[in-house]
Structures are given as C-alpha cells and as structure tokens.
C-alpha cells in the first residue's frame, strides 16, 4: 500500500537497557504496530473510525428497517435495544470523535510546523487504547449480548439486579478503557499546540482547525474524568456490590445523569468543534479568502467550550429539577446560540466576496452550513424547557442531534476528508463520483432525519422498537427508512471513491487546492520528518502568504516572509513496542474485570506497569537530523514525496 511507504526514521543505535529490541520496521504490519509517527497514527485513527462508522451505519440501517412499518417484528425488542445502544456508543465514541482526533493527529503538527506531537509514544498508546476499547465493546456481540441500556445508560437500569447480563459491563469497561486513550491524546495535543508551534507562529496565527482542536482537547481533559468516575462507580456497584446507584440504600439515580451530562454536553462540543475547525479550513481555501473574523471565531469557540460545562441539565429538563434550575439552564443553553450564530455568519462572510470553487469538499461544507443551522435552530427550541417537556426523548430530539452530529460533524469530516485526502495519499479523489455521492448522501440525509421532527412532535418516543399504528406516525417512519436505504447506497459509493482514490487516483501535487496553511507547503504525502526545514511564520495563512505575499501585504512584503528556521534540525522519535504492549494488556485487563477474574486483572496491570517502566527507560530514541543539508542528502526523500 502506498501509505506504507510514508517512511520511518532510519536505523539508529540501540539503547542497551530495554526488554524488547527497539523496532525499526519501515514497512509491513510491524511498522504499523510500533509506529509513533503522527501521520501513520492519524491514518490508523481515520481508518479505524470509518470501520466503526460502517458498523454503526449497519446498526442504524437495522433500526430503520425495524421501524419501517408499525408493529414490525424484524428485530426482537432485546436485539433492537442492543442495536440502538451500539449505534449510539459507536457513533459518538468510536466513530465521529476519533475522526476528529484522527484528523488532528495528522494535521495539527503539520499545521503548526512541528514534526510530531510532543509525546509520540503516548500518542501511539492513545490510539491503541482506543482500538482495544472499541474491539472490546464489539466482542460483546459474540459474548452474550451487546449493551442494551442506551448510550446514556441511565441508572438504575444498569444495576446488576435490573440488568444481569454482561452487556452493561462491556459498556462501562469499554468506555472506561477507551476514555483513557482519549484523555492522553487530548493532553498530548494540548502540549503540542502550546509548545511546538513553529517559530513565529503566535497563538493568533495558528490555523483554525488546530485552534478548535486545542479547545476540544481542553474540553476532553475536563469532561472525561466525570464520565470515567461515573463508569467506575457503576462497575464498583456491579463488581463489588457498592451502593452508588442503589435506590434501596438511599442512593439517588439522578446522580448518574448529572455526572454523565457534565461529560455528555461537552462531548457534543468535543465532536462539533473539530468540525467547525475543518469548515474553517475548507471554506477559506475554496473561497480564496482568509477566514472572516478569525479572532471572533476563536473567541466564540472558547466561549462555546466554556459554556459547554454550564448547560448539562438541559438534557434533564424533565427530571423535575424545578422551575429555577430549568430557567437557569435554559438561559445558559440559549446563550450558546449566540457564538454559534456568529460562527455561521463569519463563514458566510468568508464566502462573500471570494472566488468560490464548488469542489466536492466545498459542497459538503455548504451542506454542513445549512444542515447545521437547522440543527442549531432546533437546538434553541430544545433549550426551551416547556417545549422539551414534550420533545424530550422523542424523535424530535433524535432529529435534532442527528442534524448537528451527522449533518454537522459528519458532513464536515467528510468535507475534510475530501480536502485532505490528496495530502495524506498524494492522490486526488474522483470529483465526479464525489459530487454524485454528495447528491445522494445529503438529500437522503434530510429524507431520513427531517421527517423525524414530525414523528417526535406527534408522539413517538425514541428507544422504542415499535410504534402504534393509527396515530399518524407511519408516513414519517417510512420516509426515514427509505432515506436510510438511499444513504446506504451513498455510503457505499463514498467508500468506493476512497478505494478508487487509493488505487488509481491522479497525482495530487503538493498543493492541489491552492490552499492557505502550512500542511500544503510540504510534499504529498509528507515525508516522515514532515518538513525539510522548520517553517518560520510571520502571518496567519502562512503558506498562502508565502505564495502570494503581495495579496496580503501589498507592496510592503517583509523580508523574512519565507525564511526557514534553520537551527536545531529535526528530531525524529524512534518507534517502540511498549505503547502497543501496554495498550494491548488492557484487553485481558478488561476481560478479567468483566468476568470478575482478579488474577487476570492483576497480571494485566503488571504487564502495563512493566511496559511503562521499559517505556520510560528506553527513552525517546530515534534520530537527530541536523539542519538542512542532511535532509537533502536523505535518500528516502524523493520516494517519500511521490509514493
């Protein structure tokens, strides 16, 4: 495979005190298992997340087939419950969020002119933990049934007495484990963006996608701990008979909802802010104009992120918190509409006066704008507690969050994928097939989810495997199911287009879109060391200014505009087995916990500990490439540029 030759640092001397020989594979399976290269890990993230997305889509299709007609018996209630739970868990935790993280892995270092994340091995660990967590959750389908409590898993439905099967344990342990991966990756990204920006790249010159990932990462580090603790509490209840969510002992089941949504609402922004970032790259590029109101977009992103922690009970308007609490959280929730609206207007302002090229990527970005605006408007409606009293847990809510998560985040990530695919592979995707897919995907998306607003208003609750005939729900559900079938075709075409792109895409060149940010200044795909010389940044849209300095600076082009940074050289970190080993040991750890086998848990923890020590002792390793001329002499360079 072409991307297998993305390269890896050449052989270096072995530190003597490691358990496992420092790996140096540049090709083949082992090179992927031991890689610490942010680009390879980014590809792994993207491929894995799209595989999970495919699984989640199959689950969605089964759900829609079951709901095509009333009183359908295609799926049993039990299996249906498993399907919508796995659909939610998959899409939120295993597909859409990792898509953003995958793009971040690949493009944050490139956008800020760095050569990797701050902690490359930790990055590998983060990916493998996510992989292990996802794999673990999916094995539940073969080990006695998947989780069936909904992706929010409200207590006390998750207690051992109410839910004796293993499904809930799979949910709790799987998310606990994959959450660790997400946390370390977020920490890694924060340090990277704060500390590894190229010389001259002040925070106000950082590309918007990177900015949004920085905010997202902060949201992750503050939002995941409450979830992790809540998952741990439920597992304590199930494993050690503690009383966290046992009403008979005086516990308050509502606590789970608070902890879950203190995580869960920021999670929504963890998913959508990277999407905002992608859109903020795509629209300026294809309008050939800088992002309109760059500081305002950053500020509104920070504001959205901050307020994300102050709105969680709008998911709980029907739990009887009282009019004062509901009013407070209704107002904070509505306030979030303001920065979001500002962003939308700023994207419109970016298009205005530009030279718009309607590439597939741009089409998806435009579809994002419209779809997301509708989702935002229904979001404001749902911030109204009296209306939410009716709409809560109905298909109106289902429609709303699919408009923001599917029509928002997913369309944005697909846009980003069309945008960055040439950079990742060096090949262009087929634009005609891409546009055909677009005209199948987006209308079918609307056909699925727009009617669901009406189904919800007319009284259809979510998470029910059937609905009553004769109260007006049939037509909306049928339309939804037809839409889902069409979108299935669209997704197959999408995958086909990606595969065709890999196999026989036309060469892309370094900068096929005449784009603006630093990732386009290196080769496609980038060499393993990313940049020949570390760029020096004097402006926002650094690459654009290098190409067209006069378009920004007029006659007064600064002397230093394109002077590369030529001190220090590049350090290319060495590959390592330990992140992979430590992450893999979490698999037996999870099964040990699942089956209450504390020996397996103990031994797994021991392996993790030993791997951690070996990890610390082996050091960063790798190779130091001195300035400039060494890179020029590097034999792999030409190959890296073309493969």
């Amino acid at each position: 495979m072409a991307i297998g030759k993305l390269g890896a640092p050449p052989v270096v001397g072995q530190p003597p005190n490691t358990l496992l020989t420092r790996p140096t594979w540049t090709e083949g399976l082992f090179s992927w298992l031991t890689t610490v290269d942010h680009k390879r890990l980014g590809i792994l993230y993207l491929v894995t997340s799209f595989i999970f997305f495919g699984l989640g889509s199959i689950e969605a299709l089964l759900i829609r087939l079951q709901l095509a007609i009333p009183d359908n018996t295609l799926l049993s209630p039990d299996f249906y419950n498993q399907m919508f739970t796995m659909h939610g868990v998959t899409m939120v935790f295993l597909a859409i969020m990792p898509m953003g993280i995958g793009l971040a892995n690949y493009f944050v270092p490139l956008q800020i002119g760095a050569r990797d994340l701050a902690f490359p091995r930790l990055n590998a660990f983060g990916y493998w933990v996510y992989f292990v967590g996802g794999l673990f959750i999916y094995t539940s389908l073969f080990l006695g049934g998947a989780p069936d409590v909904g992706w929010v898993a409200y207590a006390p439905l998750t207690s051992l007495s109410n839910n004796p099967g293993l499904g809930t344990d799979f949910y709790m342990i799987g998310l606990f484990v994959s959450g660790i991966g997400t946390l370390v990756t977020a920490m890694n990204l924060i340090v990277t963006v704060i500390n590894m920006r190229a010389p001259g790249m002040t925070m106000m010159r950082v590309p918007m996608f990177t900015w949004m990932m920085l905010i997202t990462s902060f949201l992750i580090i503050f939002a995941f701990p409450p979830l992790t603790v809540a998952l741990f509490q439920v597992m304590m209840d199930r494993t050690f008979d503690t009383l966290f969510y046992v009403p008979a002992a005086g516990a308050m089941p509502i606590l789970w909802q608070h902890l879950f949504w203190i995580f869960g609402h920021p999670e929504v922004y963890i998913i959508i802010l990277p999407a905002f970032g992608v859109i903020s790259e795509v629209i300026p590029t294809f309008s050939r104009k800088p992002l309109f109101g760059y500081p305002v977009i950053i500020l509104s992103g920070i504001f959205i992120g901050f307020m994300g922690f102050a709105v969680w009970t709008h998911h709980m308007f029907t739990t009887g918190l009282g009019p004062v609490v509901n009013t407070a959280f209704a107002l904070t929730s509505m306030v979030i509409g303001i920065p979001t609206g500002i962003k939308v207007f700023n994207w419109l302002g970016t298009i205005w006066g530009g030279k718009v090229r309607l590439t597939t990527s741009m089409l998806y970005a435009i579809a994002f704008l419209v779809t997301f605006t509708v989702g935002g408007i229904t979001g404001i409606m749902l911030a109204v507690p009296p209306f939410t009293a009716q709409a809560h847990d109905t298909y109106f809510v289902v429609a709303h969050f699919h408009f923001v998560m599917g029509g928002g985040a997913l369309l944005a990530f697909i846009s980003g994928l069309y945008y960055w695919f040439p950079k990742i592979t060096g090949k262009l995707l087929d634009e005609r097939l891409g546009k055909l897919t677009f005209w199948i995907m987006v209308p079918s998306f609307w056909l699925i989810f727009f009617p669901q607003h009406f189904a919800g208003l007319m009284g259809m609750p979510r998470r029910t495997q059937t609905f009553v005939p004769g109260i007006g729900l049939e037509i909306w559900n049928l339309l939804s199911t037809v839409g889902a079938l069409i979108m299935g075709v669209g997704l197959i075409l999408f995958v086909l287009n990606i595969i065709l792109g890999f196999v026989r895409g036309k060469p892309a060149g370094n900068d096929p879109w005449d784009a603006r940010t630093l990732e386009w200044s290196t080769t496609s795909p980038p060499p393993y060391y990313d940049f020949d010389r570390q760029p020096v940044v004097n402006d926002r849209d650094a690459h654009w200014v290098q190409k067209y300095p006069e378009s920004v600076h007029g006659e007064r082009v600064p002397e230093s505009a394109s002077e590369p940074y030529d001190r220090g050289g590049a350090h290319i970190p060495g590959q390592s087995w330990y992140p992979f080993v430590a992450a893999l040991a979490l698999l037996p750890f999870s099964y040990g916990w699942l089956y209450d086998n504390m020996w397996v848990v103990g031994i797994s923890m021991l392996v993790v500990t030993v791997a951690t020590y070996a990890w610390a002792l082996e050091g960063v390793g790798g190779k130091h490439i001195p300035v400039g001329d060494a890179l020029d002499a590097d034999t792999e360079r030409g190959e890296g540029g073309r493969s």
Binding site: A118, M187, M196, A223, P226, Q233, L259, S560, G568
Partner: protein, 205 residues
C-alpha cells in the same frame, strides 16, 4: 516581530527542537494532567457530598472518624511535601547525596501516610463501616482509596527515581524529571488537605 530570534533552542530537553513557551513538554504535560485529575477528585468528592447524610444505616462519619489520628498522618504527608522541596533544591545544587536522601525521605513519609490509611481502613471495617454497608462507606472508601492509590503511585515513582539515580547518576540537568514528580506529589498532598477538610473536619464542626 521576529519571535524566533527570542526563542530558545534546547537540545537537551525533549526533542531538541524549538519550544514555543520555553517550558519543557513534560512539565506542561504534568500541569495538563493535574488539571484533568482535579476533575477526577472533584467528581468523587462531589459524589461524596451529594450522598452526605443520606446513609440509611450506620456507622455514620462521626461514629468512626478519628481526628487526632488523621491529623498526625496529614502532618506526615505535609512534611513529605517539604522534603520534596528540599530534594529538588539539592538536585539543583548538584548535591546528589542529599537529593537521594530527601527523595527517599519523601517516599518514606508517603509510606507512613499510607500505613496510617491502611490501619484506618482496617479499623473502620472492624467498627462496621464497609464498602457495601452504607452510602458513607461506599463513597468514603472509593474517595480516600483513590487518593491512596495516587499516593502509592507517587511512592513508586519516587523510589524509581531513587534507584535510577544509582543506575544512571543524576545531575542538575535532570531536575525537570524530579520537578514533575514533585508537582504530582504536591498535588496529591493538596488533594488530601481538601479531603481531610471536607470529609473529616466538617463532620465535627
């Protein structure tokens, strides 16, 4: 304008490449981790507070908590933080003997604290406070237990530094690694002060 001229290039720390903030990555990382860890303890403490006074059966906090005993262990932990400062100071002065001594001292004091905690747990179980007995037991053990695990990891870390300092002699160039461990240790210490106040002292006001 030329921000890069003011930038430092640190060949020894991390990757030997340009650092935007002049801070070592690993130190920033610890700060970020601790920010996240605050939320872990915040959630556990929040759970404890939500369930405070909701236990249906005893023993209740005032039945079991022993302020004088825990004050002693708290003091020991505080002193360990003081030793941590001394250890870092000694390493910066390249006084390796004292650096080793104080580092070991921190771990030793930490171990004493942990010993107190283990004794306390055994004693409480004897008094009838169990993990499964009532909400106070459930939330108390999970909160203080999580803190205990943090202390244990800290001890392991400091002992590892202590041993490593013999394997590969440490100098003041390695101070950042001790500083990071110190940040962690001070944080764990600080968390205990909060727990001691909220869980122990408040009950007797």
């Amino acid at each position: 304008m030329s921000a890069h001229t003011a930038a430092s290039v640190d060949h020894t720390a991390s990757h030997g490449t340009y650092k935007s903030t002049n801070l070592p990555d690993i130190k920033l990382m610890m700060w970020v981790f601790l920010a996240s860890d605050i939320m872990f303890f915040g959630t556990l403490l929040g759970t404890y507070l939500v369930y405070r006074n909701r236990s249906l059966t005893g023993p209740f906090p005032t039945d079991v908590l022993d302020i004088p005993l825990t004050t002693v262990s708290t003091f020991v932990l505080l002193m360990s933080s003081f030793l941590m400062v001394l250890a870092l100071h000694s390493l910066r002065q390249d006084d390796i003997f004292k650096f080793r001594l104080w580092t070991f001292g921190v771990a030793f004091f930490g171990a004493i604290f942990l010993g107190f905690q283990i004794y306390e747990f055994i004693h409480f179980v004897d008094l009838g406070l169990t993990l499964q007995g009532n909400l106070f037991g459930t939330t108390f053990y999970v909160l203080t237990g999580t803190h205990g695990v943090h202390v244990a990891i800290g001890i392991l870390w400091l002992l590892s530094i202590f041993v490593h300092s013999f394997v590969k002699p440490w100098t003041s160039k390695d101070e950042v690694y001790l500083e990071v461990a110190g940040l962690y240790w001070h944080f764990v210490d600080l968390v205990w002060i909060v727990i001691f106040t909220v869980v122990y002292l408040v009950e007797f006001i």
